[in-house]
Symmetry: T
Subunit: 69 residues, 12 copies
Amino acid sequence: MSDHVYKIVEIVGSSPDSIEDAVQRAVARASQTLREIRWFEVTDTRGHVEDGRVAHYQVTLRIGFTLED
Amino acid sequence: MSDHVYKIVEIVGSSPDSIEDAVQRAVARASQTLREIRWFEVTDTRGHVEDGRVAHYQVTLRIGFTLED
Amino acid sequence: MSDHVYKIVEIVGSSPDSIEDAVQRAVARASQTLREIRWFEVTDTRGHVEDGRVAHYQVTLRIGFTLED
Amino acid sequence: MSDHVYKIVEIVGSSPDSIEDAVQRAVARASQTLREIRWFEVTDTRGHVEDGRVAHYQVTLRIGFTLED
Amino acid sequence: MSDHVYKIVEIVGSSPDSIEDAVQRAVARASQTLREIRWFEVTDTRGHVEDGRVAHYQVTLRIGFTLED
Amino acid sequence: MSDHVYKIVEIVGSSPDSIEDAVQRAVARASQTLREIRWFEVTDTRGHVEDGRVAHYQVTLRIGFTLED
Amino acid sequence: MSDHVYKIVEIVGSSPDSIEDAVQRAVARASQTLREIRWFEVTDTRGHVEDGRVAHYQVTLRIGFTLED
Amino acid sequence: MSDHVYKIVEIVGSSPDSIEDAVQRAVARASQTLREIRWFEVTDTRGHVEDGRVAHYQVTLRIGFTLED
Amino acid sequence: MSDHVYKIVEIVGSSPDSIEDAVQRAVARASQTLREIRWFEVTDTRGHVEDGRVAHYQVTLRIGFTLED
Amino acid sequence: MSDHVYKIVEIVGSSPDSIEDAVQRAVARASQTLREIRWFEVTDTRGHVEDGRVAHYQVTLRIGFTLED
Amino acid sequence: MSDHVYKIVEIVGSSPDSIEDAVQRAVARASQTLREIRWFEVTDTRGHVEDGRVAHYQVTLRIGFTLED
Amino acid sequence: MSDHVYKIVEIVGSSPDSIEDAVQRAVARASQTLREIRWFEVTDTRGHVEDGRVAHYQVTLRIGFTLED
């Protein structure tokens, strides 16, 4: 949170297990192409239902990373 | 998410254990009377406190289900 | 939720483990100085990332407690 | 506000007299078909004007009631 | 609410007595220059305090009126 | 918009052709079970894409109808 | 969008045919008294229903025009 | 509204009688510990229902007071 | 902020120099035709870019003025 | 809407003809560089006016596409 | 932004000179009683007008500080 | 603002000096890789505090640029 310039991208992750796991999957996938990810913000929590049970959680994140000079 | 007409209802579930369990309880209860539930969206996450600890989580969901022809 | 007057304060808790644990830490810390906490509402869910993994969750709560006469 | 599942419905009440009376009329009408109404939240306050005076207030409520097991 | 074109203006009324009286004062003042006012929507409810008591309520309204051809 | 009590339900309609057709399909489907529908409000406009073209529009409506005494 | 001062007014147009026609009617009516209208923003899309069909669309616009020196 | 520094606190008042009375009770309670309260803003209006009637109104206020030098 | 009726208009000012200068230009222009302007609120801060530099700031204001009796 | 990770980008399309055509142009342009676009959400509908008529509609979309592994 | 618990308070600062000076005055005043202030967020920018010129800017801040163990 | 397709990206700039300087730094950094930047919108204004003084301002921008054919 110092004097850098950040860029923010929006990613949706999902998981059959938990909201935290959906967050982690989105962060891990974004890390494949973006270095220097610093923070995230959850903007939406949704999910799908099959046969009366939650099939998976789907979490929308704003992810911030440092733009290198 | 195909060419159907959906109806959305709003349900509040609660659980002493976790946010995910509160979601699942709301979905399970709604499934007793609504067939064809497809998705949910979390619009509010609250909870109650007793003796300085979380007593239960209370999650408000918008739940979408297919209207059959 | 009866005929009392409440005050609401805003607290941010964090945890390396889960959103629920971050909530609980915020509630526990607030309980050190505020008696009669009754409820909370989650208004923001964020977190920090290190080396492509979630380092900790950071949850903003509005916390309501009874003002005694 | 205990460990139940609630459903929320949205009702619009109106009254020529006051906002409170419009709320009460919406609650009373909903009570004809819904048992176990517990709380309401005002989401919109509008009204109609005739000849430069308020003809009636129109209040939109989200109304929560317990789903029995 | 028929096939007309409406214009909306924003007016703030106040009253020492009640929210409804503040609404009515705003509507009455607007009616001095605008004919054909049809509806209003309350967008903000504020007030001022003197010596620990409400001195007056201050209500912001969006007011809609028919544009004549 | 007179002195009645209204109920509001939330319906999602879709159409491959236009936003207006998606609105009309939602209204027509709701009219099969609800008499006295009076108005709607569009709260969300989405759609699905296949092969780089819009496959269908999906419109969320709040639909208001009179509750008969 | 240059170095001018703009004023914004709010107008509601309606049409039995389409959302675009309701926009155009609002813009055309506003142009009778306002010169130099430059842009609009849709802030609300509603409509009325008769006999299970959309009777007309009703679109609220913020309309911006240049204030001449 | 002059050149001072203000602090804002959030208080919930309730009353069985009216929204205005709930506002006044919150302001009166806050005045027991805060001097120099100047204004309030209503951010939420809720209530509880017993036996199909409003049992009490519950109003959330942001209350602003001058910080003395 | 006393017992008057206010009207609110929405004005967009711009300046190549600063946000404050854009605010002042909007207020100055509005003062040519409106007497008794009392306050403003910034609702949007935008700007235009030319050759990788800010060409001017563009600030949307809600401006409140007293309606004289 | 299965167990994938999505990325969301924001695109503005415009058309002199209709809102739907502006959506389609934005989707078509995005498809030149993004494969696997699945859905869109309209977040803003604006337009420009020339000589008292709508010159073109301008629609802001959030567009979601699958991130391939 | 590490693993601490924060509290957030809301403060309004004002200045005749600039938005930044109003922010700084609010932060400086809060620092007289709160140690360990870490960050702020601007939630509202308003001001007062006298004789057609900005008399002072008034900025509402959420201010976060570390709660010590 | 003509008939083009735009893309919007979200960038956070910061500056120890002023909000305008933080905006300019974000725009300048984005211009290193994006040609044809046309406009920006400020969506968040924050900052960090050290020793009771603002250490730097941190401004989040949505930045729009033309997609070339």
